[in-house]
């Protein structure tokens, strides 16, 4: 862990709360490659891991994500590699089976998985937070690249109800590669 920066020079004078000033919409590779509907009331964001770009929509413990993989230098060269890897496997360590589900007018193979980790502040051996993640995802190949669309629910308490996939199916039904 890095030592926290010294912020002794910070101005303590108040600054007005940031209004919802619009940001300039820089194009992102995911939106350039596919059309999909932003769910109302969810926080939109963009990001990347190496050459793999993604768009996320977050609301409370839920996160929808559209991720573009398979570019040169991607962490997964093909859908088969993704499905055989740790980002698709569940607690049992096995590749997911998936089931066919209708979203809009099309049918998709939707996979589900769950994972649980006990984590604390990095490097610390103190009592840890439970991070319980339930996920539904679909893999959509487009040429040499592929999209992974997912809905994730992250909780710190064991859930008493299963993941409601409705927001995910709505995203799937709106998704069209360009």
């Amino acid at each position: 862990m890095k030592a926290a920066p010294a912020l002794f020079g910070l101005l303590l004078l108040g600054t007005p709360v940031q209004s919802a000033q619009k940001t300039m919409n820089a194009s992102d590779p995911v939106s350039a490659a596919a059309r999909f509907q932003s769910p109302a009331g969810w926080q939109r964001d963009t990001g990347s891991f190496g050459v793999d770009h993604f768009v996320t929509f977050s609301k409370g413990s839920l996160r929808l994500r559209v991720q573009l993989l398979g570019e040169k230098g991607s962490r997964y060269a093909a859908p088969t590699a993704f499905l055989a890897g740790p980002e698709a496997k569940g607690k049992d360590g096995k590749p997911p089976a998936g089931s066919l589900i209708k979203a809009g007018k099309r049918t998709f193979r939707v996979y589900t998985r769950s994972s649980e980790a006990e984590i604390g502040p990095q490097g610390m051996g103190a009592p840890g937070m439970l991070r319980i993640v339930d996920e539904a995802f679909a893999v959509i190949p487009v040429g040499k690249r592929f999209f992974v669309l997912s809905l994730t629910r992250t909780l710190e308490v064991p859930p008493e109800s299963p993941l409601d996939q409705a927001p995910f199916l709505a995203l799937l039904s709106s998704f069209h590669p360009k």
């Binding site: 910070l10 303590l12 820089a26 891991f49 740790p86 984590i119």
Partner: protein
């Protein structure tokens, strides 16, 4: 006094006022008025017994109807009725007494060398105080209770290998150097020859030792060099050490042990581990100071564990910080949200290659979702809440200024919502606790309570350990981002018009200047290189952990213990018969 007043406020809030949005709130006692034992916060049996006893220092009696408590006087038998504040004073004294008992037993344990002994009643009392009356305790008192009862919720460590790491068994799937180049077991001179046996690795080790400085006693320096030797026995350690040496000058990094506050060595199922941070890298200093927790010298398998942390701090953070300095982008690296995952991956990769068990939760979290990992860090500790993706560094508002202040405002609001969510999490865990109480009173488990011990530890650990610490971290994030005044105002139900903290800093002219430089630095080739490294390490760790899972490498709980999955199944079946059985009063 300040703690008491705050505790009073928290107790009244915790009783239901203001924290939940349910339509019905339990009726409550109010400051300034006579205390009614039937209203919230209700006294526990232990607290009532304490108040009625001589130990409380007063002579108190319950009224005939049991609804109030009064000072007993010989003249009236039933004197002035105690007010809310009076009872709160007694609750505080009772809570402090529990902490004092724990402190006394720990001191005795230290004197005698035997573990502290507590009766079941004392354990229950301490849990109850820690969970429900923590607002009356000082940080030191909470720490004493945690130390005395820490085994109840500590992380289950990996299976205990031999303290001599040369004889430690390799974990399944580990990449170990070929047997021919490994030291023969039992070589006593290992302590005086920490270098790897492999000739190429030894040459590299000697170059690194010439380049970096070590500080501390001769024994401490020998231990640090042994850890370095362990790192350089690994493929990835050698790769990153060679990269470190490329372009670095002697004396730019110094490695030493440090006493880290609140870190304690504890016994966990027969293995010594420590709580608290493993170390830090002070990357803004010259030379860069790499500090490892001195407790690595006191725990089992400390050399390998310490070696993994050394890889993280030295070949992760410090290596990249020196490269960034040379490239003129060290300020931006400090703010980049991939610096910590990179250092983490360096440490985990070296750790897996040297045969450490794969039990680190953060490692599995990163392997399972590296793209989402930075977001998880940002709601975990204040420092990470002030780091940004390259995309965020470049993002601008319509007026052309950096979008960072607005990004931080969103994070502040999210952290505040997560803080409020902790109340809901606590209520959820209490539902699981009621389920536990239900089953533990059933004949099958009443006669054999040990069977539900794993369930009890998990629930207790969350309620008394994690949730309070999580609240502290989230409060830290809110005040770091928006200033203490913002946190105080939000706690009081208001949202002030202004922000202090990091948001104020980045809204200032100086802060905007920093952000401009950071946005430019985001295009640095160094950052591309680090991204490619992260992708490579993700692939490497995927291979090293294939077929493994953390629970199979941790010590198995006793076979008779009910697992959480089994318990959840029991709860589902009972809920089908009685949907309200987890509901509270």
């Amino acid at each position: 006094m300040k703690r008491f007043a705050w505790a009073l406020l928290l107790v009244s809030l915790a009783s239901g006022a203001g924290r939940c949005e349910e339509a019905k709130k339990p009726p409550q006692n109010e400051p300034g008025k006579a205390f009614n034992t039937r209203l919230e916060p209700k006294l526990t049996k232990d607290e009532l017994a304490y108040i009625m006893s001589e130990a409380s220092g007063g002579v108190y009696r319950l009224s005939d109807d049991g609804g109030s408590i009064a000072n007993f006087t010989p003249d009236s038998e039933y004197g002035p009725v105690l007010k809310f504040e009076d009872v709160a004073t007694l609750i505080q004294a009772h809570a402090e007494k529990a902490a004092a008992l724990a402190r006394e037993r720990l001191a005795e344990a230290k004197r005698t060398g035997r573990p502290p002994v507590f009766s079941e009643a004392e354990k229950r009392l301490a849990q109850d105080v820690r969970r429900n009356r923590h607002m009356f305790l000082s940080a030191e008192e909470m720490a004493v209770l945690d130390e005395a009862f820490g085994y109840r919720y500590g992380r289950i460590p990996a299976a205990a290998p031999s303290a001599d790491f040369d004889r430690a068994p390799g974990a399944p799937g580990a990449t170990l150097p070929p047997a021919a180049v490994r030291a023969a077991p039992g070589r006593a001179e290992r302590a005086s020859d920490p270098a790897p046996s492999d000739p190429e690795a030894r040459k590299l080790y000697e170059k690194v030792v010439e380049n970096v400085s070590f500080s501390g006693t001769p024994e401490e320096q020998a231990a640090l060099k042994a850890m370095l030797g362990k790192v350089l026995e690994t493929d990835s350690g050698r790769r990153f050490a060679a990269d470190f040496l490329n372009g670095s000058n002697p004396g730019e990094a110094l490695i030493e042990f440090e006493d880290i506050p609140k870190s304690k060595v504890i016994d966990w199922n027969g293995k010594k581990i420590f709580t608290g941070s493993g170390g830090h890298a002070h990357t803004s200093d010259t030379p860069i100071r790499i500090h490892l927790n001195r407790n690595y010298l006191a725990i089992d398998d400390g050399t390998r564990d310490g070696a993994s942390t050394l890889a993280h701090e030295f070949l992760g953070h410090s290596r990249q910080a020196l490269k960034a300095r040379r490239a003129g982008v060290d300020g931006a690296l400090h703010l980049w949200d991939q610096d910590e995952p990179n250092a983490g991956a360096v440490g985990w990769t070296a750790g897996m290659e040297m045969g450490l068990p794969a039990t680190e939760g953060w490692m599995w979290t990163w392997i399972g979702d590296p793209a989402g990992y930075p977001a998880a860090l940002k709601t975990n500790q204040a420092y990470y809440a002030g780091t940004f993706s390259l995309d965020e560094m470049r993002r601008r508002r319509t007026d052309g200024t950096s979008a960072v202040p607005g990004i931080l405002e969103t994070r502040l609001q999210n952290a505040w919502k997560e803080l409020q969510q902790q109340d809901e999490n606590e209520r959820s865990w209490k539902r699981w606790e009621r389920a536990y109480s239900f089953f533990s009173s059933q004949p099958e488990y009443k006669g054999n309570p040990e069977r539900l011990e794993g369930i009890r530890r998990r629930i207790d650990g969350q309620l008394t350990g994690y949730i309070p610490s999580r609240r502290g971290n989230l409060e830290g994030i809110v005040s770091y981002l928006g200033g203490q005044a913002t946190l105080d105002a939000l706690r009081g139900g208001k949202d002030p018009d202004t922000r202090g903290g990091l948001i104020a800093h980045y809204s200032s002219a100086q802060g905007q200047k920093t952000l401009e430089a950071t946005a430019t630095a985001a295009d640095s080739p160094l950052f591309r290189t680090i991204e490619a490294e992260n992708t490579w390490m993700h692939g490497r760790l995927t291979k090293l952990t294939a077929g493994r899972d953390p629970s199979s490498e941790a010590p198995k709980p006793p076979a008779e213990w009910v697992t959480w999955e089994e318990f959840a199944q029991m709860v589902r079946k009972q809920k089908a018969k009685d949907p309200k059985f987890m509901d509270g009063p």
